[in-house]
Symmetry: C2
Amino acid sequence: MKMFLNKEELALRYDLSVPLSRVVAMNPEVAKPFKRYQIAPVWRAERPQKGRYREFFQCDADIVGASSMLADAEIIAMIFTILSELGFDAFVTKLNHRQVLTALGEYSGVPPALLGGLYRAIDKLEKIGREGVRQEMIANEIPDAAVEKILALVALPVDDLHAWRETLRAYPRGVQGIAELEQLLGYARALGVKPARLQVDLTMVRGLEYYTGPIFETVVTEPKIGSLTGGGRYDGLIGLFSKNSLPATGTTIGIERIIDVMDELQMFPPNLGKTVTQVLVTVFDAERRAAALALTMELRAAGVNAETWYDADGLGKQLKYAAAKSIPYARNHGGRGDAARFDDGRTDASRARQDCGASTRKIFNRLKPCAAHLREKFSTV
Amino acid sequence: MKMFLNKEELALRYDLSVPLSRVVAMNPEVAKPFKRYQIAPVWRAERPQKGRYREFFQCDADIVGASSMLADAEIIAMIFTILSELGFDAFVTKLNHRQVLTALGEYSGVPPALLGGLYRAIDKLEKIGREGVRQEMIANEIPDAAVEKILALVALPVDDLHAWRETLRAYPRGVQGIAELEQLLGYARALGVKPARLQVDLTMVRGLEYYTGPIFETVVTEPKIGSLTGGGRYDGLIGLFSKNSLPATGTTIGIERIIDVMDELQMFPPNLGKTVTQVLVTVFDAERRAAALALTMELRAAGVNAETWYDADGLGKQLKYAAAKSIPYARNHGGRGDAARFDDGRTDASRARQDCGASTRKIFNRLKPCAAHLREKFSTV
């Protein structure tokens, strides 16, 4: 059956934040704070090319119903934990605040209709430098007086909260935004985030209109691939779907980009994804299959991931399979030897040692001291 | 951004078996047997109504590259394990074999073009009885002589392998199909499947054309909802995408129907899905937040699922949240009492007992003997 959509107007989901907001708005009885993660495909009308897909996975984590910076800090701490556990060590989560950006518009006197052009210009500061930002602002029709005020502001170090607060002190949104960033930094550190992994950048802009508070995105220094995560506080979005507004904050984690970076930097463990099987129960001949099955079930009942060889093939082929999948142990049932043991991690059919007459009990006893090692080995898979 | 598809011809995935076959055919280096499960959305051009959705989840498990009935038995054993662990006890996995159905056509002399009508008729045997099947065969233009031969055959008990083998003994496909079913039954029992959960039904027909060997589907006696699982052996499908054919077998598990049945029979544990949090760290006032965070991190480092309350709310609101989510323990940090402990499972804000001055160490010691209980409690979630 093929399903052609050209006769109807249909839309496919393009993000997970708007559906989350709808669900929360439509189910007011859900206890708050409500935390959820969701990993699911989304679709975009892209022309497919490397890094741009029509279908890709969105991976979101959000907290709804908490206005404290603690919630934002927990999101930041989660990003830190995930990337650290994946083996990243040269990443930085950049932080800014929507209200600082708003104050920056107020301070410079840029008319609201031109704010988008202003933000797009300063967002490129790191890439095109101050002179580039000047040209871009002029191209975006920012008034001359405002251009000079903005250039003076972005001459301050982007993370000098004290200097920015002094400059923006007449604009309460800016002062409050900076105060919230200070809170956020303190909470994030209390949650174990290394200070070197956090960087305030008061010129960082995230495109989406719906952010209202802190915004954050994570970049790696090497390779240059854009941001690995992006998110922020969006206290107004749920109110679009309901009479009652609810504070919310969260992030997207770019799974495809993370995989691309880990591939490029060869960060995946060499045995990744080969198998979770710990023991292959080989079968010497067809008559011994039932006994091999019983042994497999006994191993499984003891918490060992075991599988039986299915077909009536020679032992060599079975051991070759164990080697190809890096299954650390093979247990031969029936025939000459009763057990073949592999050295963990260097499984090789030709190196299979016959360990004649070992009982199943012995196999268990042998596996037991390896259990911690196996757990460690397989926890990286 | 909305994405309208009416300007292009696009198709959405409608199953997971055909994509699996393509992947295996296009990646011949994958070690065989290759086992995979996949839980993912699929789409059908249905008119939406109860039980019929345009988008729903397919949940597949397949084994590619093994022709032995052991592979089919493992699929059956997996279905048995899953449904048993979910709490089902009145289900039956019905087994038949495509080659028996083919032999049935040969035996009765029904022309190949009419076989579809023959199969549809006998598939209804349980529902409409022998007389119904007769009428249906006549309506499907099955020749009179064939109708009589079929009716004589379906007069045999549907699970009497001996009687069917005797009747079909001149048709090697039928004899082989029955022999494979006997093997499959033996292996499934060796894998721990209770005999009462297996039933051969030589009149059971599964619609899909691509099955070549055993076919299986699982039904519950109560409520009547159709099959919960359906699958079988499809040794020819991968060959459609590659020069080399590969044996394959697998099943779909109908998640939505399983959820519907578990809802109707009230099989879900009462605390299902409320939370995995074991300890809520409450906060007495804003100044003590950093200390509360540190405690939360300490609990998490010790393997306890802990969360901190985010906002500057009164203790009552925080305990209400713990009660609403059935969080078994609350630990108050700062203020008058230092810890509030709930009786597990009957958390109630009004019943919070102040346990003044308990140190974090004491909390750990108190949680330790509960660890097994907590694990048990949360393993059902």
